[in-house]
């Protein structure tokens, strides 16, 4: 069944949903990134273990670079913390009234942990 939508992509991008919309879109992007990362990670492990292939090493080199680590830890951490908020609000639906407060708490939890992780990653990268 095809769905008819009257909203174009441009209008969709212009939609200003603020805080909740931002977490929603970041949850999607980070989720897709994690699926891609985990699938490639498993593939790399399989190739290295079964065939000692250089393709596995090639994939490993990509996700061991510090830029990729900063990106993937953003995805993993944000997806985990935002996911926990979604789980709590969904399983106790009465709490949805406090969604904005929950999002503020979420960022307050996320930013220090992420900042610490980025600090450690960059320090390790600079130490070589």
């Amino acid at each position: 069944m095809g769905l008819k939508r009257n909203v174009s992509l441009k209008d969709g991008l212009r939609y200003q949903g603020k805080g909740p919309m931002l977490t929603y879109i970041l949850h999607r992007i980070s989720g897709l990134s994690i699926v891609l990362f985990v699938a490639l990670h498993i593939l790399a492990a399989f190739l290295s273990q079964q065939y000692s292939s250089s393709a596995g090493t090639f994939i490993n080199d990509i996700y061991e670079s510090w830029i990729f680590q900063i990106y993937i830890i953003f995805c993993g951490l944000f997806h985990a913390i935002n996911g926990l908020r979604i789980v709590i609000l969904d399983l106790w639906p009465k709490l949805i009234e406090y969604q904005n407060e929950a999002i503020w708490i979420e960022w307050l939890v996320f930013l220090p942990i992420y900042g610490m992780a980025v600090f450690v990653i960059i320090r390790t990268a600079l130490a070589g």
Partner: protein
């Protein structure tokens, strides 16, 4: 804004509802597995014989091959069936959670019925194969 909630009996219980609740519960399950991994890593000596990266490695995939470069003297006692089962369950929940997530994204952004069906099949096959490969790697490592 007052929230409105519909009771389970009125809402009905179909496949989508099952997957909706499964996504939430598998998220909680993954939190539990990560916690089990952290505790396991601390017992095997993460406090003194591992760095942060290796602790995270054991947390997210408790597999001796994953922490080969650590200073833990003997990894053999850690390649038990318990950790292999934990790892397999982790892979299973992660993959099914991810599969349902990708299918939802496809449903949301693509309207062409044929393309939708095709992509659903492709994603389904890729993720099921990847799960099988992951569990195979776990048990043969």
């Amino acid at each position: 804004m007052k929230s409105r909630t519909v009771s389970m009996a009125k809402r009905g219980f179909n496949f989508e509802t099952t997957m909706w609740i499964f996504t939430r519960l598998s998220a909680l399950a993954m939190y539990l597995f990560a916690l089990i991994g952290v505790i396991g890593a601390l017992i095997m000596g993460a406090r003194t014989q591992m760095n942060m990266a290796d602790l995270i490695r054991w947390t997210f995939m408790p597999n001796p091959n994953h922490v080969l470069n650590t200073n833990v003297a003997d990894l053999v006692p850690w390649s038990t069936a318990f950790w292999k089962l934990t790892g397999s369950a982790f892979v299973f929940f992660a993959a099914s959670h991810g599969l349902h997530g990708v299918l939802s994204v496809i449903e949301d952004y693509l309207t062409h019925p044929g393309l939708r069906k095709f992509l659903r099949l492709v994603v389904f096959v890729i993720l099921v194969v990847m799960t099988a490969i992951g569990i195979y790697v776990l048990w043969t490592s």
